[in-house]
């Protein structure tokens, strides 16, 4: 175990690994905080926190998971203190809502023939492909800001409904609608740009 190349150099002593990790963390934090300074601070704190217990981690994968877990906590803390930024978003939100549903469903609420969701198969293959993650980030980027934010709170930070509602200052049904629309769009974007299937039966 100790002789695996993964743990030969302590990961945190390896400047290349560290730089790479830092870049990834920064991207992850910036995506959610949409503020370079706040993101920078969160990453810095998470790295310092991880350094304190770094000797407990043999491998890079374990260390990375650990650092990201700390980073997620930091991001959640920042978001909890930042309700005011939501107000402006929600005004924009009102304009954006509704249009997507008409594109996907007909008047009776059934799938438009060319919008039928396809079978994706196993997502694991995508997860290990760096190109897939660039597509994923681009799809996230395209979501309306408020939708993206609740989606990330829910799925990245794994916060529960009451917490998100409190932080975002919205009702449970607001939240459900926003998550519904975020998933609807994200699913479609990933299907169109990655899981591009062959013919789908009508």
């Amino acid at each position: 175990m100790a002789s695996s190349p993964d743990s030969r150099v302590a990961p945190l002593q390896d400047p290349v690994f560290l730089q790479d990790l830092r870049r990834q963390m920064l991207r992850f934090a910036t995506l959610q905080l949409s503020d370079a300074h706040l993101a920078e601070d969160a990453v810095q704190e998470a790295l310092i926190g991880a350094l304190k217990s770094a000797d407990r981690f043999g491998g890079r994968a374990a260390l990375k998971t650990w650092v990201f877990a700390i980073l997620k906590n930091k991001i959640a803390d920042v978001l909890r203190q930042r309700q005011r930024l939501w107000q402006a978003d929600r005004v924009l939100q009102a304009d954006e809502d509704g249009e997507d549903l008409h594109e996907l469903f007909d008047a009776r609420g059934f799938w438009q023939p060319d919008e039928h969701p396809a079978a994706w198969g196993d997502p694991d293959q995508a997860i290990y492909n760096a190109r897939f993650w660039r597509v994923f980030e681009a799809c996230l980027d395209r979501l309306p800001a408020a939708q993206a934010r609740v989606f990330m709170m829910r799925e990245f930070l794994e916060l529960e409904t009451p917490e998100i509602c409190a932080a975002a200052n919205i009702t449970v049904s607001n939240l459900n609608v926003m998550l519904y629309r975020a998933r609807l769009r994200l699913r479609e974007c990933l299907e169109n740009h990655w899981f591009t299937p062959g013919e789908t039966p009508c």
Binding site: E137, T161, N176, L179, R187
Partner: protein, 72 residues
Amino acid sequence: MLNCQKATQLFSESQERPLTLKEKMDLKLHTLMCSGCRNYGRNLQALRKIARAYAKGEGASDALPPEIPKED
């Protein structure tokens, strides 16, 4: 009988709260007959898996330039 819009809503809410028995039955009945919604339900599960992987730092490797999918 549910339509697809309602069925996809229930799929989304099932990731937020346990569905009621009636909701489950309605959804079951709908997906028996609708392959689009059947795929949708599986895709949402995959989406959750993907997001959780991303949050563990799997979205790694800066070796590649970011590529922005084109609108079609």
